[in-house]
């Protein structure tokens, strides 16, 4: 004898478990979004503070400028953003907004560092990295591995990564300035020169001989690598 009631009750229990799983997962994802946003806001304040500090002390000595290198939080932000992108998908609106925010922070940091370098001759080593999440760019994933390796070997290396397809005018301007066509991705910009297609660890070390000297440095700064 079939107990219809039992079939329905079990269905409701199962549906209830599914609903709870979705609600809990969404709640935690929202919390994650808040954490990323808070970190990004803090970094934004840090950059603004650095920029202001730089303006205030323009006439005084470089020694009076606080440590221009940003905290490790931008690295953590990159990793968390990458994780969120992986979990929620590259088309998630919140993820796209955060990526835009993060990309702007990177550009801002890049510009501030250039100013600091000009005034105080700190000579930061930086790489602009352009990638795409499109299936066609197999080398983008490989390039990501190479940059992650360099970032861990050379803590002073500043890697700024940009999603080529992100709808952000500032990135489009960077692409135009550095003349990067989409079919040449992945692309790196090192000391104003553009290098297209995959570059190995050895290739990059040849381009930046100073990298060898930075591996023993203590300060850390790097950004994200693309995820496929």
């Amino acid at each position: 004898m079939i107990s219809k009631k039992k079939y329905i009750i079990v269905f409701l229990i199962t549906a209830g478990i599914f609903a709870v799983a979705f609600i809990v997962s969404n709640y935690i994802n929202d919390k994650r979004y808040e954490v990323i946003k808070t970190t990004a806001d803090k970094i934004s304040i840090d950059i603004l503070s650095l920029e202001t500090q730089f303006e205030l002390f323009q006439e005084s000595s470089c020694a009076s400028l606080a440590n221009p290198v940003l905290s490790d939080e931008i690295n953590a932000l990159a990793d968390r953003l990458s994780y969120a992108e992986n979990q929620r998908g590259i088309n998630d609106d919140d993820v796209i907004t955060l990526k835009k925010y993060y990309s702007l922070l990177e550009i801002k940091d890049y510009l501030v560092m250039k100013k600091v370098d000009k005034r105080c001759d700190v000579n930061p080593i930086s790489i602009l990295y352009f990638y795409t999440n499109d299936e066609g760019c197999e080398d983008c994933a490989k390039q990501g591995y190479v940059l992650t390796k360099l970032r861990s070997d050379h803590p002073l290396l500043r890697i700024y990564s940009f999603d080529y397809d992100l709808d952000l005018n500032a990135i489009k301007t960077l692409i135009t300035i550095n003349k990067i066509p989409k079919d040449s991705l992945p692309a790196l910009v090192i000391e104003g020169k553009t290098y297209t297609k995959f570059q190995s660890v050895e290739d990059i070390r040849k381009i930046i001989p100073a990298l060898a000297a930075t591996s023993s440095a203590t300060s850390t700064q790097a950004t994200t690598t693309p995820r496929k």
Partner: protein, 408 residues
């Protein structure tokens, strides 16, 4: 691809969870008549048929275990049917024939179902049972099983099957599987949804064979087909979880694989033969639960394993690619709760695993008297999911291509 695989996973998880919750709810439901073994007594005449084919090493042990049953000797009859063995099975059986009401028959090799039918036809007992020659029975089993026949419409009673002296890794995995099977059989018995009356010591009312017919070849799974047929005729199959039967299980993968391909193939072919029972309320829970979920579980096993293989191979390819490009690097493990995977699929998988563990521990508590995680459970959880899809795939392929599976 990602959307496709996650949708499939959600569907598989929903069905999996639904089935497990259904089992747990049924397990904890109050039984109308529980512990019949202790409450009632029923002592009819019983004939146990032992079909053998090249079982010279085990037939005597099997028959002796029947002679040790706590049951009035004048009411217990044993019929050994040698199915044309090429070894000394017949002679071994004759040696012990004088120890009780034992009859030894011999036939030209015609298959187990013919041997069983021969024994049933010659029996004059009210109850007939069969016992494979690779199994032995605990002394109290028969007495515990018989009172279940007093229930309305019950024409067959199945025992609780345990693995005899598990030694090898595979036998230990099977030990866990059989113990879980005892719990599941109990639940299925409560639902009147048992779809197999296993060779080792299932009992039948003899009269039922006259009414619904005798054993058939049934794709070498006559014990499954007779259960389908009983259910088809709206009779009931009860389960006696206290009546233990010990069976020798395949010690090697090759033998286990062969056995399971036969079982799964037999199930699929019989399910096709009895397809009118699927989703048919007329046949009770076997039509709406057992049969559909058995098929769904086979499909789910394929999907889950192919999905896991896809992700695992992607990970391996990515890791090799990474190391080829950058060399081997060591990253210290650092725990950050932010990266704790809390996707809905992960949470649901975790819930299902908890539910599976509950079922396993309930089974251990019921069978072994204590809910604890043993080595056998660890082996089962770690390996069964990898080996079972192999015979499921082979049996499914044979079913699709209509390639019959041999007994041995």
């Amino acid at each position: 691809m990602a959307l496709y695989s996650s949708t499939i996973l959600y569907i598989a998880l929903f069905f999996g969870l639904y089935y497990q919750i259904f089992l747990l709810v049924t397990f904890f439901e109050k039984e109308e008549e529980n512990n019949l073994s202790e409450k009632k007594k029923y002592e009819p005449t019983v004939t146990i048929i032992v079909p053998c084919f090249n079982e010279s090493k085990t037939v005597a042990k099997t028959v002796l275990s029947l002679l040790k049953l706590n049951y009035p000797k004048e009411k217990l009859f044993i019929t050994v049917v040698d199915d044309g063995s090429s070894d000394s099975t017949y002679e071994e059986a004759l040696k012990i024939a004088s120890l009780g009401n034992i009859r030894v028959l011999r036939q030209k090799n015609s298959g187990k179902y013919v041997a069983l039918n021969k024994g049933i036809e010659m029996s004059e007992s009210e109850i007939v049972g069969c016992l494979d020659a690779d199994s032995t029975v605990a002394p109290g089993t028969l007495q515990k099983m018989l009172p279940y026949f007093l229930q309305d419409k019950v024409v067959a009673v199945t025992p609780a099957m345990k693995v005899h002296n598990p030694k090898t890794l595979l036998q230990r995995i099977q030990n866990a599987e059989y113990n879980i099977g005892i719990l599941l059989k109990k639940i299925m018995g409560k639902l009147d949804a048992i779809h197999v009356t296993p060779g080792p010591f299932s009992l039948f009312k003899k009269s039922v064979f006259k009414e619904i017919g005798y054993f058939r070849h049934a794709h070498n799974t006559e014990d499954m087909e007779i259960a389908f047929r009983i259910q088809h005729h709206h009779y009931r199959i009860a389960n006696c979880p206290q009546g233990f039967v010990y069976t020798i299980t395949p010690p090697t993968f090759k033998k286990l694989y062969k056995q399971r391909v036969r079982w799964t193939y037999g199930f699929l072919k019989n399910a096709i033969d009895y397809r009118h029972m699927f989703f048919n309320k007329k046949y009770g829970n076997i039509g709406t639960l057992t049969l559909p979920f058995a098929i769904i579980s086979i499909i789910t096993a394929f999907l889950v394993i192919s999905n896991s293989l896809y992700h695992f191979s992607s990970y391996v390819v990515e890791t090799i690619q990474r190391y080829t490009i950058t060399g081997i690097t060591f990253n210290w493990f650092s725990f950050d709760p932010f990266f704790f995977n809390t996707s809905s699929i992960t949470l649901l998988t975790f819930t299902m695993l908890c539910s599976s563990f509950t079922i396993i521990l309930l089974a251990w508590s019921m069978v072994e008297g204590k809910a604890r995680i043993t080595r056998d459970i660890v082996y089962f959880v770690a390996l069964y999911g990898f080996i079972a899809p192999l015979w499921l795939a082979k049996a499914s392929w044979n079913t699709i291509t209509s390639k019959a599976v041999s007994w041995r």
